[in-house]
């Protein structure tokens, strides 16, 4: 069941009406039931994985908490990490490692190196819920939280349907507690939830899925596409992936609000970042902070004696983060590239350089914003291409085939239409950049607000691309 299918909205409406007639304990059980229905809609067999993952961390969590010595605590934490990463490793990376190893042997001259790969289907959302359960064990180990005795609460925390398949990746300290508290329906929150869902759906169906057609035309025909086509496709992909993923997050956060649950913010107008460090504090915030807290800082973080060690820590963190996205070297290179973008910051020792993310960008920041956008967009080539040679070919083609004769594409009706969509998005986001999302319009009169909502619905109806395209991050 995907957020961009009507069945989800029927499901959401029914779940909402039933949920608010229940008491707290019943509510949790009902949310767990809904979450399993939601997840099982894709493939009920994968429910066993999520149950195993939940059960493991529920049991291990108690073991960590009760362990008398730090050593035993560490053992139990290791058990949790191993079990979770083994599940993830098998379902997501088994073939990748086999093929990479085979490639390495071939490169070393072992011409008869041949291993069998398996036909493994990647369970939807496994990267997300695995990280969420891991954070529970780690936070317990760090003594930040106490384990819950209520298994329903814990299982609901792992599988809460709005954020189950593509985040935001929640920490136990933020989300788990909410399931133990009495939830009270807040009218303003519910309205805001519906607005956020509407805006998320618009970003996905109208912007991302319409841009996807142009992107696919170039990236799906690598042999025949020309440099300017790749240029345009990469530019549009930057906005496609943003609207696709942030649209998903908006629907997730909005849906959770309807159940009285607050999820973490996942995007904060990332393309208005003035440097790469700021970008990562605005893009996929919950994943970035996960890697910061559980990979970068344990490696020593930025508080190290030598700049090289700091640089190494950043590179490792981004490489692992890249690999998290997908079992392909393109993602690793994409991560490493972002790590390399930090070199100027490291050299000038401005670890969190520039203005803090919560300080608004102004028109004077536009050159910095554009420079950051160009760097990020360059990275998207690796993210979108199917292989490393293909990424290199695309970059070469962009730079080599840029001539007056080939840029006629920029005057085509399709390009102009898509550019208008993108410019429109940038303008409304700039206008609303101090708000949690674009449709925070409380200060406007009701008739204006409703007109805007109806205009968005009309946009969805007339310009939406309803040929089902799964959210990009589902594959991760």
């Amino acid at each position: 069941m995907s957020f961009n299918s009507p069945v989800f909205f029927v499901f959401l409406a029914i779940a909402f009406l039933v949920y608010w007639r229940m008491r707290r304990k019943e509510q949790n059980l009902f949310l767990l039931f809904c979450s399993y229905v939601f997840y099982g809609w894709w493939d009920w067999r994968f429910l066993s994985l999520i149950i195993v993952s939940s059960l493991t961390d529920y049991v291990v969590g108690h073991k960590i908490f009760r362990a008398q010595s730090p050593r035993r605590k560490r053992y139990w934490l290791l058990a949790s990490v191993l079990i979770n990463l083994s599940l993830l490793g098998f379902f997501k990376y088994f073939n990748f490692f086999i093929e990479s190893f085979q490639g390495l042997l071939l490169a070393l001259g072992f011409s008869d190196a041949s291993f069998t790969t398996l036909s493994i289907i990647l369970p939807v959302g496994i990267s997300f819920y695995t990280f969420q359960t891991l954070s529970y064990s780690i936070e317990l180990y760090q003594g930040k939280i106490r384990p819950t005795r209520d298994w329903v609460q814990f299982f609901t925390f792992v599988s809460f349907f709005p954020q189950l398949v593509a985040g935001p990746i929640e920490r136990a300290s933020h989300l788990l507690g909410q399931f133990s508290e009495e939830r009270r329906f807040k009218l303003a929150e519910a309205y805001d939830g519906v607005r956020q869902i509407l805006w998320g759906l618009f970003k996905k169906v109208v912007i991302a899925d319409n841009l996807a057609t142009v992107v696919q035309q170039a990236y799906g025909n690598v042999d025949t596409a020309l440099g300017p086509q790749f240029f345009a496709a990469t530019f549009f992909f930057a906005f496609q992936i943003y609207c696709d993923f942030s649209g998903y997050s908006d629907i997730a956060i909005g849906s959770a609000k309807l159940f009285g649950i607050k999820l973490s913010r996942n995007f904060n107008y990332p393309y208005f970042s003035r440097n790469i460090s700021e970008f990562w504090r605005r893009w996929h915030i919950t994943l970035s902070s996960w890697f910061r807290d559980y990979v970068f800082i344990p490696l020593g973080g930025s508080r190290v004696a030598r700049k090289w060690t700091y640089f190494r820590n950043i590179l490792i963190t981004f490489a692992v983060s890249g690999l998290w996205h997908g079992a392909n070297w393109t993602f690793v290179v994409w991560g490493v590239l972002h790590g390399l973008y930090f070199i100027p910051t490291i050299l000038t020792s401005r670890i969190y350089g520039g203005k803090p993310a919560n300080e608004d960008a102004t028109l004077r920041d536009i050159p910095k914003i554009l420079a950051t956008f160009v760097l990020v967009t360059l990275g998207w080539v690796f993210f979108r291409a199917q292989s490393l040679p293909e990424s290199v070919y695309i970059l070469q083609t962009i730079f080599e085939q840029f001539s007056l004769a080939t840029i006629t594409i920029f005057f085509s009706a399709v390009f102009i239409k898509k550019t208008i969509i993108v410019v429109g998005l940038v303008l409304v986001e700039w206008w609303q950049r101090r708000r949690a999302h674009v449709l925070c319009l409380e200060s406007l009169p009701v008739w204006v607000r409703w007109s805007v909502y109806y205009a968005i619905l009309a946009g969805l109806f007339f310009f939406g691309n309803f040929d089902y395209r799964p959210f990009i991050y589902f594959q991760f």
Partner: protein
């Protein structure tokens, strides 16, 4: 537990907000169904086969489901004469047979030799036609193409009637049309094909007069209107067939290579047809002289010559007749008898059929003399009627 006042307020506001949206959407759904755009295929076929009045069916927005529609039509009509092939056989009409047997044109149902076998395998025993007139396209034997299994795929999919997207897309089209021209509402309520006055089912039929008639044959209103305005040959396909051939675009390919596997699959179809008592008459539909000449003098020559040489033999093995009308000039016609580079007009098709029954009629069709009279009369002055023949006159 009961809902709190806040929840009740929220639900009330939501209902208030969404009600106009659902009402508007409901209206478009009504129009979509009423116009026939999302009518279930079974219902369309039932009306067409009943033949109590002339219907014209063509959807304008949603997946056209043509292969499925034609398969269901062939099965339901259970005719004694069945036309099978791609869109290139669609101008064979019931009128050409002078009512000498029940007829259905299932053109556009198949797009490969695999589809032929899938068709005969799926057709229920006892519902076989007596005669199948089979139009064969050369590219069915192209190694790079012949694995296409459009019919099987079409039959395995759910009907568009149950697809929510169909309602959105068709609603979008209807509202856009109404905004452009409010009279669209009354036009669609009347539901008459603007070209020939048939009862239109589907937005393409309603708006443009294109579509499938009761006998399954196709009415190309747009092409006919253009021809009546300017009686010259113009390749009206987009992109034109000659351009596709020159540039190796679908259905042509620079990599075209004749594959014997295709012949085996065709033989399987013919063998199964024979076993089930069906007489098959095969033919290669015409190309315009311009396209034919290009085919015989380009990268495509080797492939096409192999097709021309080897396919007739397979029909011969099973004792079935086969005609090669690949060059429109072999019918004594000029390119003006073609809608585009590879679709004959109805008049051109009548001429082709007349030639077919000159050599193969007795023992296959009943009332051969009557058929010949009809065709002769219709083709008496073909140059003056390179578009539709008014069959009602006969």
């Amino acid at each position: 537990m009961h809902y709190t006042p806040d929840i009740r307020t929220f639900v009330r506001i939501m209902v208030l907000f969404w009600l106009p949206v659902f009402v508007l959407f409901g209206v478009t759904v009504f129009f979509s169904v009423y116009s026939g755009e999302i009518t279930p295929l079974g219902y369309v076929i039932e009306r067409q086969v009943r033949n109590d009045r002339e219907y014209l069916f063509a959807r304008g927005v949603i997946g056209r489901e043509t292969a499925r529609y034609k398969y269901m039509g062939a099965e339901r009509a259970s005719p004694s004469i069945l036309v099978v092939g791609s869109s290139r056989v669609l101008e064979l009409r019931a009128e050409m047979f002078g009512g000498t047997g029940s007829f259905y044109n299932a053109g556009s149902m198949v797009g490969s030799v695999h589809d032929l076998v899938d068709f005969i395998d799926t057709l229920p025993v006892g519902r076989e036609p007596e005669v199948v007139i089979l139009g064969i396209d050369a590219w069915w034997f192209d190694a790079s193409r012949f694995n296409k299994r459009g019919l099987r795929e079409a039959l395995s999919k759910g009907e568009e009637f149950y697809n929510w997207k169909a309602y959105v897309y068709s609603g979008r089209r209807i509202i856009s049309q109404i905004l452009k021209n409010p009279a669209y509402i009354s036009d669609s309520m009347i539901g008459i094909d603007p070209f020939d006055g048939r009862r239109a089912i589907g937005l393409d039929a309603l708006e443009h007069g294109n579509g499938f008639r009761n006998d399954g044959s196709r009415q190309y209103a747009g092409y006919l209107t253009a021809m009546r305005q300017d009686m010259r040959y113009v390749d009206r396909e987009d992109p034109p067939i000659i351009e596709r051939l020159e540039e190796g675009l679908d259905p042509f390919s620079y990599a075209s290579e004749f594959d014997d596997e295709g012949l085996k699959i065709l033989a399987e179809f013919l063998s199964k047809s024979k076993e089930r008592g069906i007489t098959v008459i095969g033919f290669a539909p015409a190309f315009s002289s311009e396209v034919y000449e290009e085919m015989m003098d380009s990268y495509y020559t080797e492939f096409f010559s192999a097709f021309q040489e080897r396919v007739p033999g397979v029909f011969g093995e099973y004792g079935f007749a086969y005609f090669d009308f690949s060059d429109v000039r072999s019918l004594g016609l000029e390119d003006v008898y073609m809608f585009d580079g590879f679709h004959l007009t109805e008049t051109g098709t009548a001429a082709m059929f007349a030639q077919m029954i000159n050599t193969t009629c007795e023992g296959v069709f009943t009332g051969c003399e009557h058929m010949r009279e009809i065709l002769d009369a219709a083709l008496k002055d073909p140059l003056t009627t390179p578009a539709e023949v008014n069959w009602q006159a006969f």
